[in-house]
Structures are given as structure tokens and as C-alpha cells.
């Protein structure tokens, strides 16, 4: 009998080993089945600054990030998602709102910034207080006037959700949902919000688009008077400047709030001008309702102060003089930065 038993055990073991191997093969296939979705770097862009090797984008990770981005679960009472204040058709800004409008109808103090080309961003928020895209969502999630939630609650809600545990396991492998995975999934979605198909892009990349005479004249003025700060084809220098806005009653100290250095008083991050025709209102507090008002500010409304950027005092006096014709030409050029393919890209929309 004994040999038979041994043989039986051996067979069982063989089957078990076989099953384990099959299981391993299956799970390996499962991992392989994730579809890589690498960031496409437009030829007219510099190298990305986000550490993509730390968080390789997959189609599944991007889709999980998109689901999270549009899910009110991230807020205290389920009413506010990231997408509430970052609306795709407005280049993921809060169209029509000077400052962001959050939970319980509470108002923030700053204008909701665009979500686009963030892989090239070195600083987040108007004051640059956050330096890593993966750490950025903590701000709005925990801000009492935005989503007013606590991260441990968010993680618990996700763990108890009927869909999320399986989706996270699929993207990140088995294990508990944690802040690392949540933030990386959100980053995967936001990194893919790339705007590089505007008329200007197709002109500059020789892809067949031609600019009109006015648009070309606007581009020339832009290069002379605006491109020092709104530099490269990202249209931002990723730096901080005081652009001569009269402080409001709230007296937002801008970059000073983060560095406590006197030279940073009232400095704000240069926003990209991509899709600028769709991101009204303008400035960190949304004080200007249209592009005409913005150009009127630069040509005749700049207020002098100890930290005013010297670039805005080219002749020793505050202001970048612009004629009405030049303003019209600049606006014509700025409209070539509108990227409808991005603004209407169905894969970036709430599903």
C-alpha cells in the first residue's frame, strides 16, 4: 500500500505544482495584459520633468485615474469631484468662476488652474507650494473650501467601494489601496492631458497650417513682449513673477506664502497660454473677464511695487505699451493656441 500512497502523494504534488505554475503563468499574463500608454512628447516640447519611470502609464491606470478624477467620492459629501472645478472644454479650468467654487458653496481665493501638459510642470498651484504632481491632489482633497475631505477617509471609502479594489489590484497588483496608488493613478490621467494640436502647433511643426497676417503679426509682438515669461512652446517659464496687479482686500501674498522671502511678495506662477481663449476669467484671482482686459492691464494698468518684475518696466516706467492694433493682433495670435482636439478629446471626458 505504502508505495501506492506515495505515488498518490506524488501525483497530487505534481498536480499542485502544475496548478501553481499555471496560476503564476496566469497572473504573469495578467500583468502583461496591462496596455502601456507612454506619454507622447510633442516634437516642439522640451523634455518632460515628471519622473515617468517612477509611474509608468498604462491604459488601465489612466482609466482608473480618470474614474477617480470624475468621482465625487474624493470629497467629504460626495458632491465635488476634481472635474467639478476642472472642466475639459475650458482646458480643465472652472469656466466663469473667478475663484473656485467648492463644497457647501464655499469659495476659494484663487482661480482654478488649467490641467494640461503637467508632465512639463515644475510647480503646482499659483504659488508653487507643491513641487510634485503626485502630491498635488492632496491640496484640493483636504482644502476645507474645496473637497473638505481627509485622506484616510478617502482611502477607506475606496477600500469599501464595489469597483475600486478590483481596479486598483488590476493596475498595481494585489494589495491594499493606499495613498501612493491613489495619487499615481490620478497622475496617470492628468499626465495624458496633453495639449499640442492647436493651429499654432501645426504651423510651428510645419504640419500644413498657415497663420493669417494678423496672427503672424501677433506672434511677432508676442515674441518681443510676452515670450520671456510665457516661454517655449509650453508658453510658461515655470517661474514666479509680480505682474503688477493691485492687491485686493484679501491681499494674496502669492509665492511669499511658501517661501516667506520678502522678494517673493505678490509673485505668482506664470500660467501657460495654451487654450487661453477658453480659460477666462484670468489671473490668480480671476479678476479679468476677457483677453482685452488682460492686455489693457499689461499696457496701461500695471501697478508699481518693490517686487514688480523689471521686465514689466522696460522703459523705467510700469507697462508694456501696446496699440489697439497690436492688442487685436495679439488676441488673434492667442486664439491660434486653442486646441479643439484636446478640449474635445473623448478619452479625457467623464465616461
Amino acid at each position: 500500500m505504502r508505495p501506492i500512497i506515495q505515488s498518490g502523494i506524488f501525483q497530487v504534488l505534481t498536480i499542485m505544482v502544475g496548478l501553481v505554475l499555471m496560476g503564476a503563468a496566469c497572473s504573469k499574463n495578467g500583468d502583461d495584459a496591462l496596455t502601456p500608454m507612454p506619454l507622447k512628447v510633442p516634437s516642439n516640447f522640451p523634455a518632460a520633468t515628471y519622473a515617468l519611470d517612477r509611474n509608468p502609464i498604462t491604459k488601465e491606470g489612466f482609466e482608473l485615474g480618470r474614474k477617480l478624477f470624475y468621482d465625487g467620492l474624493l470629497s467629504r459629501d460626495g458632491t465635488i469631484s476634481c472635474g467639478s472645478c476642472h472642466i475639459q472644454g475650458s482646458a480643465f479650468t472652472h469656466h466663469g468662476h473667478d475663484v473656485s467654487h467648492g463644497i457647501d458653496d464655499r469659495l476659494g481665493v484663487r482661480n482654478s488652474p488649467a490641467i494640461m501638459n503637467l508632465a512639463w510642470n515644475r510647480f503646482f498651484f499659483w504659488d508653487g507650494g507643491v513641487f510634485d504632481l503626485d502630491l498635488q491632489p492632496l491640496g484640493p482633497i483636504e482644502n476645507p473650501v474645496e473637497m473638505d475631505e481627509h485622506m484616510p477617509h478617502v482611502i477607506n471609502k475606496l477600500k469599501q467601494h464595489k469597483d475600486y479594489p478590483a481596479l486598483f489590484n488590476r493596475v498595481f497588483g494585489p494589495g491594499e489601496i493606499n495613498s501612493d496608488k491613489l495619487l499615481k493613478a490620478l497622475s496617470q490621467f492628468m499626465l495624458q492631458c496633453v495639449s499640442a494640436e492647436s493651429k499654432y502647433d501645426k504651423y510651428i511643426r510645419n504640419e500644413g497650417a498657415q497663420l493669417t497676417t494678423d496672427e503672424l503679426a501677433g506672434l511677432t509682438i508676442f515674441k518681443q513682449k510676452c515670450a520671456t515669461c510665457h516661454s517655449t512652446d509650453l508658453f510658461t517659464d515655470n517661474a514666479f513673477h509680480n505682474n503688477g496687479l493691485t492687491p485686493t482686500l484679501f491681499n494674496d501674498s502669492g509665492r511669499f506664502r511658501v517661501t516667506l522671502q520678502p522678494q517673493d511678495m505678490h509673485l505668482f506662477k506664470t500660467p501657460s497660454l495654451r487654450n487661453v481663449a477658453r480659460t477666462a476669467p484670468y489671473m490668480h484671482d480671476g479678476r479679468f473677464l476677457n483677453l482685452q482686459a488682460v492686455l489693457d492691464h499689461y499696457s496701461g494698468g500695471i501697478q508699481n511695487s518693490p517686487t514688480l518684475d523689471p521686465l514689466l518696466k522696460p522703459n523705467g516706467l510700469p507697462g508694456l505699451p501696446l496699440s489697439d492694433t497690436e492688442k487685436a493682433q495679439l488676441i488673434a495670435f492667442l486664439q491660434t493656441l486653442t486646441d479643439d482636439a484636446f478640449l474635445r478629446n473623448p478619452i479625457l471626458a467623464e465616461q
Binding site: 504659488d127 507643491v130 513641487f131 510634485d132 503626485d134 483636504e142 484616510p152 511658501v258
Partner: protein
Amino acid sequence: MFYSLLITLVTFTTACKKEAQPEFLPGDKGELVVEFDNIVGGTDLQLNTGVYTNAAGEQFKISMLNYFISNIVLTNEDGSTYTVPRDSSYFLIKEENPHREIKLSNIPAGNYTGISFLLGIDSIKNTAPVGERTGCLDPAGDGAGMYWTWNSGYIFLKMEGPADAATSADKKFRYHIGGFGGYSSTTINNIKKFNLAVPAGSRAEVRKNKAHGPVIHILADAGKVMNGSTNVSIAANTTVMFSPYSVNIANNYASMFSVDHVHND
């Protein structure tokens, strides 16, 4: 003759040492415990109930006291040092927790007479990728509430409590002190380093297979947060967070720790 005598003596001495039972062997590892005993002045801190008076003459209670301890280095009596591995060297001490002690394991056996650490989190960890922020450094985990989301960085020390002198609506003072020196441009640095010696004649004896590691018992005087080079007035500074004034509070807490005693059993 002289040399041969010397050699004989040396041999004899060595032989004697060899005969003595060594207390530990090279390669032995053991445990060491660092206990943080929060006090105010000369009394044990009583959360929510104890009434204390600061140097400005204002009465207050303490409803929360949390602080980060990191980058621990132990000094052996022979002068050598042992640096606790970086990723096992971040701890959040909370008065509200029943246990306020740090258990260090895999410490080389030996007799330790000094300990150094930071109150706060170093700049490398403050700027680390999110995947390296686990345990007490996880803003969604044990580190919740000890992190500034709008100005990426950890809050090193958080002390709050009710005080009649407070000018806030809920009559509470709130001191949230952090600032690691800045990511890309310089700003305040409120990380404080402590080099503490154990009392003369004592030592922490780390041994292999000891049932309980030696305990370095540290007193943390929360009263020092308010009193020191700047005597903080709650009425004048009810809320201190990321601001130039926070440097004064950090300079005060730079003397809040001392080793009271060591026990080895």
C-alpha cells in the same frame, strides 16, 4: 630581560581577559527602547485636564501634542556611533497614544551613552516620491494631519489647547511648526538636532536575547514650546503655523528634550 618580562606580563593579562566571560560578542544584535515622557515643567503632562501657566503668565491646557523624531544615531561608550538605517528612523510621538516609545531593533550589542536625533523630518524625506512616504510619513495613514498639503512639507510639532488668552473664535491656541528649508528656494528651517548624553555613570546595555531592551527615558518638556529665548504670549500669537514667528517657537523647543535616566532591566 626587560622585554621578556613585558611579554610575559602582556601574555598573562591577555590570558586573564580571555578567561573572563564576555558580555557580548561581535555581531550580536539586540533591542533598544527610547521612551518619550511628555511633561510640562516639573509635572507629568495631563492631556485636556492639566492646567499650566506660561512665562507670559497665561493659563492653558494641552489637548494635542504630536511631534516627529527622526534620524537617530547612538553613541557607544567607546566613542563609535551607530546610525539607525534611514528608512527605519522616522517616528511620530503622540501624547494621545498609550505608548510613546520607539523600539529600535537590530542594534549592535554594546554600551551606549549618547543619543542624537532630529525633531522634524529632514529635507530629503520632505521631498521624497510619494511611494517612499509610508507609515507615519503617509498623509493618508499615520501621518494624517501632520502634513501641509498646500505647501508640501511635514508639520514637525503640533501643540494645541484651550486658553482664555487665545484670540481665536474657539479660544484655542494652535502651534503647527514645520519648515524644512525649502525645495527650490530657501525658506525657514525649523528642524532641530538634539545631542543628548545619558546621566554620568549610566549606560544603555544592548545585548542579544535580552527579554527587554534597555530603555533610554527621555523627558520632553512641552512647556519649553512656549518659554525660552522667546516667551510666547498666547494672546499675541494664538495661531502660529508657517510664518517667520514659528522660528521663535522652534528655537524654544530646541531645548525641550533631556535624558532622565536609563534602565537596563
